[in-house]
């Protein structure tokens, strides 16, 4: 049986809320949680289409208007020349500060997109391309260039791969990151040409060292000035090149044509998509077949994604609940499921992601994030726990005192009359952040005391049970619907709500014990209302510290 055969053709296949949640988690960030129910009420085909054909839903994007401008290089030189050495230094420092601040806002802006979008696949694919065409702010300092590249990823997220490669290759961010802006006739710089073949399109073994050297010559003249792509004909090496055995006076665009003609290209991208969306162990047959779809469609991504999300393999028991959550997923999904508004402490959310090993716009190197099991080390696992503990196990928020309330109340319940045309991904709560919370002065920029507080939390040693924080998770609201439930029901329901993997009985009983810690049973059925808030928080903290919770 073909693993890519549409799942619903199989009589034994049932489309249900668990599978719908799986789709929502893999193709997006599992948010809002209630969307799984809505997807389950559709057919499999409709549900997959709702995710893949997302253009029918509004993008709801607030474009940043706070990105520092890129100065015109000539003007800049003039300006600098007029300044004293000290003033120049001062100006440079000021620029760096502005860029750092803008980067932080951009990171928060993207996290908000992941949380609030009605087009989760668009953001998930944008994240995929960010890891694929990795560019780091450690080298490329202009935040505006990162935003522009991010928009290229979003525009072509599920579009045509050929168009995407070309747009990325001409993006000033990539031209700077892989040094092609310095690649000149007679003085080739191979960095971009090498990674184009090795990491972006073909993979090792499908080109020679000589192909790289020749391709580097073909890309001479692709450069950037003042934040825009420039083709500098004088710096272009127009000579004859031999690439993949073909001879010609190739230029950069033609090299990309040649690359796309290589059979290895479609397989390389499809394998990577499979690893990202389906399983750490790519199924060679599935990859081959997806690659055929990819080539037949002229490198259109949607047919590939649709085939993948419809396939029997995608819903197989080995695949469901077997993926390690990326920090971006872990953080957004946790925050979304707890109904917490991250904007109040966005810098902390970003810091936590960084500590877990994924700082947006700062991938570790040009290969992007390794992903899969590599997300989990002794260090990152404890950091994940620290973050959830911080979210759910701090003291209740206090609203008085410190002048302006730092903790805004959670959003009021959603208007129940959702438009019939609304995306199933329409959030249950009004957008948490899009109302330009970023612009509000008390969340940005990064507040030192918040960071210090958070670091102290992480440093807190085991013996100290003193709680230093106002949590911004509202436990009473969160648990309110369950007050009259039995403790067993509560544990089972929360486990099912938070975990994509069934929890073994013995482990579930540990959570139950934790919930009922020091509560006298007196031979009656314990209900949640008998349980003090600390126990509820503690149980939730444990649940979110389980190995099961790391998976989706």
């Amino acid at each position: 049986m073909n693993v890519l055969a549409p799942a619903h053709l199989d009589r034994s296949f049932t489309w249900d809320a668990v599978k719908a949640r799986h789709l929502l988690e893999r193709a997006g960030f599992g948010l809002p949680p209630s969307a799984a129910q809505r997807l389950a009420s559709m057919s499999l085909t409709e549900a997959v289409n709702a995710l893949v054909d997302y253009e029918r839903y509004p993008q709801n994007m607030v474009e940043p208007d706070w990105l520092p401008e890129i100065p015109d290089p000539r003007e800049e030189r003039k300006k600098l020349a007029a300044l004293s050495a000290e003033a120049r230094q001062q100006m440079r420092r000021e620029r760096q500060r502005q860029e750092r601040e803008a980067l932080l806002r951009l990171q928060g802006w993207w996290v908000d997109r992941m949380l609030c979008t009605e087009r989760p696949l668009e953001e998930k694919m944008t994240l995929f391309w960010h890891g694929h065409f990795a560019v780091s702010a450690q080298k490329v300092r202009s935040t505006r260039l990162h935003y522009e590249l991010n928009q290229i990823f979003r525009t072509h997220a599920t579009g045509n791969f050929g168009h995407l490669v070309r747009a990325v290759g001409k993006s000033p961010a990539m031209l700077e990151y892989l040094d092609n802006r310095l690649n000149r006739k007679g003085h080739p710089n191979e960095n971009w040409a090498r990674e184009l073949f090795e990491l972006f399109t073909l993979g090792i073994g499908h080109y020679t060292e000589n192909d790289i050297k020749e391709a580097a010559r073909a890309f001479t003249g692709w450069t950037a000035r003042g934040g825009s792509f420039v083709y500098d004909a004088r710096q272009h090496d127009d000579g004859e090149k031999v690439i993949f055995g073909r001879v010609g006076r190739f230029d950069g665009d033609q090299v990309i044509d040649l690359v796309l003609q290589q059979p290895a290209c479609a397989e390389f991208i499809c394998r990577k998509l499979w690893v990202f969306f389906v399983s750490e162990n790519p199924n060679p047959e599935a990859v081959k077949e997806l690659a055929k779809t990819f080539r037949d469609s002229g490198y259109e991504l949607k047919p590939v994604l649709r085939q993948m999300f419809m396939s029997r393999a995608f819903y197989s028991p080995e695949v469901m609940g077997s993926q390690v959550k990326s920090p971006a997923f872990f953080v957004t999904n946790t925050v979304g499921k707890l109904g917490v508004n991250p904007n109040e402490r966005m810098p902390l959310v970003l810091l936590a992601m960084k500590a877990m090993g994924q700082e947006l716009f700062v991938p570790p190197n040009v290969k992007g994030w390794e992903g899969g099991r590599a997300w989990i080390s002794t260090n990152s696992l404890l950091t994940r726990s620290s973050f959830t503990g911080y979210l759910v196990a701090g003291v209740s928020p206090s609203f008085g005192g410190e002048g302006k309330a730092r903790l805004k109340t959670l959003s009021s319940p959603p208007p129940s009359s959702a438009s019939p045309f609304a995306s199933p991904m329409m959030s249950d709560t009004p957008s948490m952040m899009s109302q330009d919370v970023l612009g509000s002065s008390d969340s940005m920029p990064l507040r030192d005391e918040d960071v210090r507080e958070f670091l102290l939390a992480l440093a807190e040693d085991n013996r100290s049970s003193r709680q230093r924080f106002r949590t911004w998770f509202n436990a009473s609201e969160f648990f309110a619907p369950y007050e009259s439930w039995s403790v067993e029901q509560v544990v089972d329901t929360l486990a099912a709500y938070f975990l994509s993997v069934p929890l073994e009985r013995s482990r579930r009983n540990i959570l139950l014990e934790a919930l009922c810690e020091k509560v006298a049973r007196k031979d009656k059925q314990l209900l949640l209302r008998d349980i003090p808030e600390d126990n509820r928080r503690g149980m939730l903290y444990l649940l979110l510290s389980s190995a099961e919770y790391q998976l989706c």
Binding site: D179, L182, R184, G186, H187, P188, N189, N191, R194, E198, I204, E209, E280, S322, Q323, V324, A355, G357, N365, V366, K367, E370, R373, A374, I376, S377, T378, N379, S380, L381, L382, S385, S386, A393, A457, L458, A459, E460, N462, S465, R507, I510, E513, A514, L515, C516, E517, D534, N535, R536, R537, G538, M539, Y541, L542, S545, S546, A547, Q550, L551
Partner: protein, 416 residues
């Protein structure tokens, strides 16, 4: 716990009243203190420690250890070539990069051995693949899943070994640690490493029980995570204990490499039962405008290393510590047009420690007899590993790497 009952060397010095002026304590007394407290690291036969430093990105070896009498060097590097007068002269044909002054001070004491021309056949110029080759000690066309340090631990560690037998000062566990037994942990900052107890019933015991592995295998991802959770908890206990006692007296700069070396010094000083420490120091991929970048990185490297060594001396641990410094490759002999250098092949490897012969080992590659613009390697990196495995860690290198490699005369007691 084992560590609780052990005196650190520092505590011994303190007891014997030698600590107050550690710097002025005669070396023989420090050695004496060391000898009297010396006991094997749990799981191993002796107390030797190896610190592995990866200069990630491909350090330009030619501008690190400079053959300043070779005209070919200046011909290949008309702008990047470092003039003789700007070098730290080592001998009549070699100079260190000026940023390496603190390292040269160690060199002058005979503590540093430079192995030249280290590489491997059919070099791969991809960072990732070449790093993988160095981490797994494989041939260039062989893909291995386990690392050389993981293999070593699988092979050599006896009962009593702790997961912290190998420790990477990092958020990530390097592939070099991958092995069947899953030993080796990642710790970014020992000061904040541990599972924090929560309110109500969220106790550490429950966290452990909740994540207790059901089997010894880590085949499924779920079981893998449970093993990691267990290692984390076990290691956190030990590290918390050690971090409290481990001190460092030397002055370190604020950069990441120096502070990571300081962490290692503190953990060694506190007697963490660790055989191998691992650090990755990145930023060496200098395709453009190399000179200032490399100068800054080498300066951080040398000063961090020098402070670390001062600590080792003050702790009385210098004789039990060996440092290995490598990069996944060197860089192209000729400079490029962007004031940088592209990915290359062979490079000098540094070893720092007391039992070494010091000076230069291996053979300097020719700058004119090149392979497509790159140096031809003269020493296989696995010969360096083999020598360390046998002479320093006392194990059969063939069992670790699956093959024998010629040993190098790097150590004072070595025969060849």
């Amino acid at each position: 716990m084992i560590v609780n009952t052990r005196l650190t060397r520092r505590e011994f010095l303190k007891m014997t009243g030698l600590v107050t002026f550690a710097a002025t304590v005669p070396q023989f007394l420090v050695e004496l203190a060391r000898a009297s407290t010396s006991r094997p690291i749990p799981g191993f036969r002796d107390d030797k420690v190896l610190v592995v430093v990866h200069l990630a990105g491909g350090n330009d070896g030619l501008n690190t250890v400079v053959p300043y009498v070779d005209d070919a060097y200046y011909r290949a590097r008309p702008t990047l070539g470092i003039k003789k007068e700007n070098l730290l002269k080592i001998d009549d044909k070699t100079g260190f990069h000026a940023s390496l002054a603190p390292l040269k001070a160690l060199y002058d004491k005979g503590l540093v051995t430079v192995v030249e021309g280290v590489g491997y056949p059919n070099p791969n110029r991809s960072h990732f693949r070449s790093t993988e080759i160095w981490y797994t000690a494989s041939d260039s066309d062989v893909f291995r899943t386990t690392g050389w340090i993981g293999n070593y631990l699988d092979q050599a560690a006896a009962s009593g070994v702790q997961p912290v037998a190998a420790l990477a000062v990092s958020g990530e566990r390097p592939q070099a640690f991958f092995g069947k037994r899953g030993l080796g942990v990642a710790v970014a900052n020992p000061q904040r490493f541990g599972w924090q107890k929560g309110p109500g019933g969220a106790t550490l015991d429950r966290f452990k029980a909740l994540n207790n592995p059901s089997s010894t295998s880590s085949d499924s991802v779920l079981e893998y995570i449970r093993h990691v959770a267990t290692d984390a908890v076990v290691s956190a206990d030990i590290i918390a204990e050690v971090a409290k006692r481990g001190r460092s007296e030397a002055k370190y700069s604020a950069d990441a490499f120096s502070s990571n070396m300081k962490t290692v010094a503190q953990l060694i000083g506190g007697d963490l039962p660790t055989r191998i420490f691992f650090l990755s120091f990145s930023g060496f991929d200098t395709h453009a405008n190399q000179a200032p970048t490399q100068a800054r990185l080498l300066e951080q490297f040398a000063s961090g290393m020098s402070a670390f060594w001062q600590d080792m001396e003050a702790q009385g641990n210098a004789s039990r510590v060996l440092v290995l410094v490598f990069s996944e490759f060197g860089r192209r002999v000729a400079e490029n047009a962007s004031g940088g250098t592209d990915h290359g092949t062979a490079e000098p490897v540094f070893l720092i420690g007391k039992g070494l012969r010091g000076g230069f080992a291996g053979k300097r590659p020719s700058l004119t007899d090149l392979d497509a613009g790159d140096l031809k390697f003269t020493t296989d990196f696995r010969s360096v590993y083999a020598t360390i495995l046998e002479a320093w860690l006392g194990t059969d290198s063939k069992k670790v790497m699956g093959r024998s490699f010629p040993r190098l005369p790097l150590f004072q007691n070595s025969q060849s």
